[in-house]
Amino acid sequence: MDVWKSIKIKRSLRQIHTERFFKTSLVLIALSILVLVVAFMFTLILQSMPSLKAFGASFLFGKTWDPVHNIYGTYPFLLGTLLTSFLALIISIPFSFAVAIFLGEYYPRGWFSEFLKNSIELIAAVPSVIYGFWGLFVLVPMVRSLEIKLGVMPYGIGIFTSALILAIMIIPYAASLGREMIRMVPSSLKEAAYSLGATRYEIIRSVILPYSKSGLLAGVLLSLGRALGETMAVTMVIGNTSLIPKSIFDPGNTMASVIANEFTEAASTLYLSSLIELGLVLFLVTVVINLIGKKIIKRFTTD
């Protein structure tokens, strides 16, 4: 690097100014996003002050959400959010990984690959309200008949149904990212394994997956983030009750769904500020899960 320092390159003033201007504007734009996020968090904290003062830490563990007596607690909604998101993740992972391997390894090129890739991305493009409608009119009766067979209360809507819909919605995120990561595995590695007599399955298991582990996990984290924040589709099929669900077929509620439902008619200051504090909790939960996810990815990153 010191070699470059001793070479004097002649640059015109215009070039120098352009260079500096470009760098400054990039830095400013990037900083403005940061400013926005920090301001966002400040606003949330500021607006939820009344509720923070009234409840403190018991807000996170309180089991009652009572607008009449002004007692608010997030525990049922926190549970509902985490339950639906993680259940959806567990259901969707086999599908997204299968699609990623299929498109990345077996059919990386060709008309079929393009067609499948576009269909998967179409799943991500459909508005979530439509998923909610589809869930309400198609999935709910199917889950209801399943529940009748299993002998539980035939609600039809509940944690299980919303986890199913969320799973469908989040498949594209892990699948697309996973596909890109799998395609980036160097052919030399694969060919070396082939030359040693490995079968296709053994290549996938011992060469491709370990190599693209961090990328696949990043895709999973993206899916989880999407599932945590999804509002419209979930609020239509989750049952909207503030009782704690005892089984996955019970109705529940998520934090995003409560905010969406009750925000417009929240009359009293404490009610409104509790809803905003709910948003703050959701924000923090997302941040914490992202940090944990990043740590896990770092552990698995191969250099």
Binding site: V68, P154, G156, T235, N261, S268
Partner: protein, 370 residues
Amino acid sequence: MKIKSKIKNVFLAVLVLAFAGSITTGCNGGSGNNTGSDSTSTSKSGDDETLLGAGSTFIYPLFSKQFSVYNQLTGLKINYQSIGSGGGILQLTNKTVDFGDSDAPLTEEQAQKMGVPVLHIPMCSGAVVISYNLPEVKDTVKLTPDVIADIFLGKITKWDDAKIIAVNPGVKLPATSIVVAHRSDGSGTTNIFTDYLSKVNDEWQSKVGKGTSVNWPAGLGGKGNEGVSGLIKQTPGGIGYIELAYAIQNKMAYAKIQNKSGNYITPNIASTSAASNVQLPADSKIFLGNTDAAEGYPISGFTWALIYQEQNYNNRSRDRAQNLLKLFWWNINDGQQYCEGLHYAPLSPAAVTVAEAILKSATYDGKPIL
């Protein structure tokens, strides 16, 4: 080099925080001072031939019809945004609309934020029916207040419970589980229903109470009247509360409820109007649940238009105030003929008298307008 980059990082971090802080407090300070000296005041919004209103979604179909007819009669244009009662009250507090509409009278906190007296003018009334999904049962199910409260408290869980059978002699009720459906969003319909339950059942009053949004002890939540209707229709054994108009339009079965006088009343236009034909307070702020009227349906309520009593604020012209009051005068008299076609209950004679008196008390610079 390392120390220099550390200082640079700290400097950048402080800069970011400072900007973020200034944006946050700037927005907050601005919105805090908004009430009273609003720059988007109604007097500047075009001419006095266009009025602005916002509020309840319940009354929106009726207002649409009435305002279009009134426009043909007088040329006055009215722009109404159905953003919900809470939204309407907020807009009226910020003085961005001429009138609001709410399914419940102002709470103390809301009245305090307004600061000045606000008139409540009843526009019409609506009934909240208890709809159920029992395709095998051909007769109309009868319910008493205590049975309804026990069902919604989660104490009665099957349709063939002894208490329900006692009220419906001769009706074959199936052994299906009861699935309760309620509103998941804040709503005037919930307010009317929970007010009724609080009046007729002590356990409900102490355990749950009344409000636009309550802590439901049992059941599933649906968004809007459509959500609850959907839940009832799709779930065998479902029961829930929805507005009469929805039940009629979706051809759903609804129950006969026993009122205060002991009669089982079928919810319809006539019985809902009869419910408001009682002694009303002068400011018309009353919940009609469990009405004293002998033939009145017990679960109903008014919807009120809200205007400031003193109409000279934010440089409003006298003409504008006059147009507003004439509009509502027409609404409560000639405009009532459009209620029945849209499944709303017209105001009873007692209610019209009270409403007219309230309108006459609106002032401009202290002098009555009408």
